[in-house]
Amino acid sequence: MSSPVSRSLRETGFFLGVTFFVILAAFPFYWMVITAFKQNSDLYDITNTPFWFNEPPTLEHIKYLFEQTLFTRWLLNSLVIGLCVTAITLVTAVPAGYSLARMTSRKGEALGIMIFLTYLVPPTLLFLPLSRIIAVLGLQNSMWSLVLVYPTFTIPFCSWLLMGFFKALPVEIEEAAIVDGCSLFGAFIKMAIPLSVPAILTVVIFTFTLTLQEFVYALTFVSSSDQKPITLGVSTDLIRGDVFFWGEIMAGALIAAVPVAIAYNLFLDRFIAGITGGAVK
């Protein structure tokens, strides 16, 4: 039996710990939000306290983004890249994950591990050989080069993630469908896919977020402003020489982050179910 004193001490410790990590995680977002709405004179006056508004908030940075830069174009580029990469990833990773899950031999397992290992090769090693391929295909300085390159890291991880999920699906369901008149492919479409919607949603969100935040490949392969995705556009076109347009940079980051945050929250439960596979069923 624990005494009331030790229990309240433990609770206090728990909440102190949680508070610490919440602040640690949320502070950058807070910083981003207030910077996006601060006037320049407020922002660059080092005598002001930086943690709150010293002058009234303003929308001028956001206005500048939309009127004076190609921000809308970058947003659109990121959206198109994200959708294409997500589609490519789904079309390849879902069948790949399924095959790996149902190939129960040792070869199947080895293949699964090999696919996962490719995910561990860092982009900084890969962009040199990849740039040759991009050049040969005539995709230099085009956002379509990114549509081609991004699946190299989304497909391995997503195949692996889906493999874990498909393994947790009882194989009897598909076998019953096969005996009941489906082909193997029919059983996959009618049984395996509808039952793995949580995992597929996870893949969609994961892929979309990864492509949205990718920077190294975009910086390497794209240089024209109108072909840039948002990460690259904001951090290259809004830094001129050693002048940082902090207000605009933060406003751009905020606008790109909000839809993703909303999407995550909407699908949080399914997302967790997808990541943990069948374990929570």
Binding site: P170, E172, I173, E175, A176, A177, I178, V179, D180, G181, C182, S183, G186, M191, P194, L195
Partner: protein, 342 residues
């Protein structure tokens, strides 16, 4: 409905044979039980019949046609899995309708057949539920309805009762058997439970290590086991086996091993039986012990009717005069095969 016939079916996983040459004929309308211990190859054999596994060699005929290379969906067989394999994202109605939909049966006919099958199994009130909202017994009936709805050539069941509790199992056993008799469906039923096998099968095929040890009616399997494996696998407690005449074996069922005075004269073999322990089970009393002058790897058991043998007459630790009618003795040769000369 159709007869199922297999000729020398072999299935190897790598170098390991799971099914090692099974030839079996299941005539049209028969209830055939495949009985054997876990890992004996009976489920693999069933999966070969329905087409989920491809045999390494041998022929499979359904309704007189060789179906070796025909995919499961075209064989017209229905299978009920141990875990039922219901479709969790479909309602009960759609689960039952699924085999008809894949065959593009017209909508009105699907409706009619689903109603027929659900009425037959008494699950009409569950049609709009999903499998996870059903109890074990209800799931089992839905699985059975789904298996029957398209009037299969043969019904294959893989330990369908093992997920039910003991009471429900007895009930479901009756239902499946009644149902099979009324529809007259060729049925192959896999189980490791000898009570299910004895109670349901028209015939039983006892399987061990991928081979059939004996095929016969429940009575034949029990009364005239072909070898020591069948003799000791079927029956609870199993047949007593003692070494005899040097190399051979002598077997007798525990219920035939009785106090000498309970056996009327006319050919009985006497044994000296030392009782070690006795269990009272209500309808019977199981007595464990050893017999003099014979070797046995297992304790010898006797199944006594409590109504006729008073508890006071059996003293643990003492030697008693027991006997077996000669007609109830079974002789086996040194290789374990039945020796029919006796």
């Amino acid at each position: 409905m159709a007869a199922v016939l297999t000729r020398d079916i072999v299935k190897k996983f790598g170098e390991v044979p799971a099914v090692n040459g099974i030839s079996l004929t299941v005539p049209d309308g028969e209830f055939m039980v495949l009985l054997g211990p876990s890992g004996c190859g009976k489920t693999t054999f069933l999966r070969i019949i329905c087409g989920l596994e491809q045999q390494t060699s041998g022929d499979l005929l359904i309704g007189g046609h060789v179906v070796n290379d025909i995919p499961p969906r075209a064989r017209g067989v229905a299978m009920m899995f141990q875990s039922y394999g219901l479709y969790p994202h479909y309602t009960v109605r759609n689960n039952i309708a699924f085999p008809l939909r894949t065959q593009r049966v017209p909508r009105e006919e699907i409706q009619k057949k689903v109603d027929w099958a659900s009425r037959l199994l008494g699950i009409g009130h569950l049609l709009d539920r999903r499998p996870r909202q059903l109890s074990g017994g209800e799931r089992q009936r839905v699985a059975l309805a789904r298996a029957l709805v398209r009037e299969p050539t043969a019904l294959l069941l893989d330990e369908p009762l093992s997920n039910l509790d003991a009471k429900l199992r007895t009930l479901a056993r009756q239902e499946i058997k009644n149902f099979q008799q009324s529809v007259g469906l060729t049925t192959v039923y896999v189980t490791h439970d000898q009570v299910e096998a004895m109670g349901m099968g028209d015939r039983i095929a006892v399987i061990d290590h991928g081979r059939i040890r004996q095929v016969g009616t429940p009575t034949e399997i029990y009364e005239d086991p072909a070898d020591l494996f069948v003799a000791t696998f079927v029956g609870a407690p199993p047949m007593n086996v003692v070494t005899h005449n040097g190399g051979g074996y002598l077997g007798f069922r525990p219920e035939n091993f009785l106090p000498r005075n309970m056996i009327e004269d006319g050919g009985a073999t006497e044994f000296s039986f030392r009782v070690d322990r006795s269990e009272y089970l209500g309808s019977e009393r199981i007595v464990y012990g050893v017999i003099a002058d014979f070797d046995s790897s297992q304790p010898i058991t006797a199944k006594l009717p409590p109504a006729h043998v008073a508890e006071a007459s059996i003293h643990p630790g003492e030697w008693h005069r027991f006997a077996v009618k000669n007609s109830a003795l079974r002789h086996f040769d040194a290789g374990g095969n039945r020796n029919t000369r006796h």
